[in-house]
């Protein structure tokens, strides 16, 4: 599998990455090389093999339903790029 520059642009758009135009071609080559290396996976016979999402054979532990987090808005917003009246600001969202 190889990726065309157009596909690279599409994937970058899906991942919300702005690429410089001159980056697109090298990325296409590099990503294609990676995918070629990865294509070896198709050689494995995986019929009747169940996918392994996780190395642990455990089940989800459940947390008691208690409020344990105090309000620390000021601490958390001290590192925010832009806030006003306790809200995080972004360019206007049009729905």
């Amino acid at each position: 599998m190889s990726l065309s520059p157009e596909q690279v642009r599409q994937v970058a758009r899906l991942a919300r990455l702005q690429l410089n135009p001159e980056q697109v071609a090298p990325y296409a080559t590099q990503l294609s090389n990676i995918l070629q290396m990865v294509d070896r996976l198709s050689s494995a016979d995986t019929a009747n093999v169940s996918p392994m999402a996780h190395p642990l054979d455990m089940v989800q532990r459940l947390r008691p339903d208690v409020i344990s987090e105090p309000d620390r808005r000021d601490d958390y917003q001290a590192i925010a790029p832009e806030t006003q009246d306790g809200l995080y600001l972004v360019p206007k969202v049009i729905e």
Binding site: D65, R73, G86
Partner: protein, 483 residues
């Protein structure tokens, strides 16, 4: 009822987002109380800060299973959380933790009542657990929007129906039923204004008999039963108009505008939806054992339908009264407490609770849980009717006084001297007095004007300040008038 033009039919499926009424969030220990100052209930996990990890809330799982059992669904013995990716400022991690291939609840159903009295079964495809997103605030900003993440991470179940619904009215009946159940179960506060119970409607239309469904649109976040009805009706009409004019329906997300009653296409989330679901590696499979499910099943409250049938059977109520009295769990409990404590006829109790009490509460815009008269106090009033201390008419006055906070039934009866007159000589004296004062009416009555009997009852009752035992008064009056 339906405004669908001849030859067309609508196909409707509903997705209901139901906030589970836990104390803390689904994956964090932050509070979920509604209406807090922006971002004061958003901890680093909810804010999607680096290195933060989700841990699942035990009560969210229990509530989701409770719901599944109440709609006759299958509970997955093993289910997983998946990440659903999209970029939006109210979604701090860039993905929503949801369930995809293996939801916790699948293949349930709900029977709804149609206006003609028949029932229709609506399939529930699935219900899955997920986290809610935050909110964007647009008012008060020029070029910006503000993001409040208090709601982010609130536990939800998304309940997805089969496309079994054909009219806006059926949709509303389904929603109301669903709403009643989740509130009954105590898993959701049901507050639609606050967004605790929200509905997205998938609507398509087709010519009757067409083999395939038409292209559907999804109308988002319609937050009242009335708006759901209006939005669906608008959408059906719009789609038929488009098709009849030779146009095509575009698969899209639309927003309902309550001010105009119209829907319009949304401008955001325009990206080809490629959510890139995959199992969340921060969370492990959730396993529900038989014992766990059985324990929840055993603790399920009686649901409205079963309660209503029992009220008809055990209390001899009309179906209408039974439906009214089971409309909420609190009301049904109130009614049952009144029956038990008063020892009065269940039917009499039903009339009093459904008509007088609910009428009074309605006037005060109060719910049964805010009733100024407790079930025990109300039972004490009905007890005095049952033991003939007061008659029904006097009881209404006592009830008014109780609503006004003048005391208990017995206190009011005593203070106002309202004890029923059962002494027949006293009643006879009152009757004789009435007969003596109204010779013309007596003559007319005796001449065949039977309808005047009511006049004499009223006059005699008045003469006893309404306190006469109505049965005795009727009997004695008949005797005397017979001459």
């Amino acid at each position: 009822m339906s405004r669908i033009p001849e030859g067309w039919e609508a196909v409707i499926g509903l997705e209901v987002h139901c906030q589970l009424s836990t104390q803390s969030k689904i994956f964090s220990g932050a509070a979920i109380a509604y209406g807090a100052e922006p971002n004061t209930q958003a901890c680093p996990i909810d804010l999607g800060m680096p290195g933060m990890l989700p841990v699942l809330n035990v009560d969210a799982v229990r509530k989701a299973v409770t719901f599944g059992l109440s709609v006759n669904a299958e509970i997955a013995r093993r289910c997983v959380f998946a990440r659903k990716h999209y970029f939006y400022p109210d979604l701090p991690k860039g993905y929503q933790i949801s369930q995809y291939e293996l939801p916790i609840v699948a293949n349930g159903h709900l029977d709804i009542e149609l206006e003609d009295g028949s029932t229709k079964r609506i399939g529930i495809t699935r219900a899955h657990m997920e986290e809610d997103a935050g909110k964007s605030v647009h008012e008060g900003f020029q070029k910006s929007s503000g993001i409040d993440l208090n709601r982010a991470g609130t536990p939800l179940i998304e309940i997805v129906s089969e496309p079994d619904i054909r009219t806006a009215q059926e949709a509303v009946a389904y929603l109301k039923k669903l709403h009643q159940i989740v509130v009954y179960l105590g898993i959701c506060d049901g507050n639609m204004q606050e967004g605790s119970f929200r509905c997205d409607a998938n609507v398509s239309v087709r010519k009757i008999g067409a083999p395939k469904f038409g292209t559907r649109t999804e109308t988002k976040n319609v937050n009242s039963f009335r708006y759901v009805e209006k939005a669906i009706e608008y959408e059906i009409e719009r789609q038929i108009d488009v098709l009849e004019a030779g146009g095509k329906i575009i698969q899209e997300t639309r927003l309902f505008n309550p001010d105009t009653g119209e829907t319009r296409a949304m401008r955001t989330k325009e990206d080809a939806n490629d959510y890139r679901y995959f199992p969340d590696p921060d969370l492990l499979p959730i396993v529900c054992t038989e014992d766990y499910i059985d324990a929840i099943r055993a603790s399920l409250p009686e649901l409205p339908e079963a309660k209503r049938a029992r009220f008809v059977k055990d209390f001899g109520l009309s179906d209408y009264d039974a439906k009214t009295l089971t409309s909420s769990r609190e009301l049904a409990a109130y009614y049952e407490a009144v029956v038990a404590a008063s020892g009065a006829e269940p039917k009499l109790c039903a009339n009093w609770v459904a008509t007088d009490l609910l009428g009074a509460l309605n006037k005060m815009s109060k719910g049964i849980e805010e009733s100024p008269i407790s079930a025990e106090a109300f039972a004490a009033l009905l007890k005095r009717i049952a033991d003939k201390t007061i008659n029904g008419k006097i009881a209404k006055d006592v009830f008014e006084a109780m609503v006004a906070g003048e005391g208990s039934a017995d206190e009011i009866i005593k203070a106002k001297g309202l004890v029923q007159v059962t002494d027949e000589s006293a009643i006879c004296a009152a009757i004789d007095d009435v007969i003596a004062k109204n010779p013309q009416q007596v003559a007319d009555y005796r001449g065949g004007k039977d309808k005047l009997f009511g006049f004499f009852v009223g006059q005699a009752m008045k003469a006893t300040q309404g306190k006469a035992n109505p049965d005795a008064l009727n009997r004695l009056l008949k005797e005397r008038l017979a001459g």
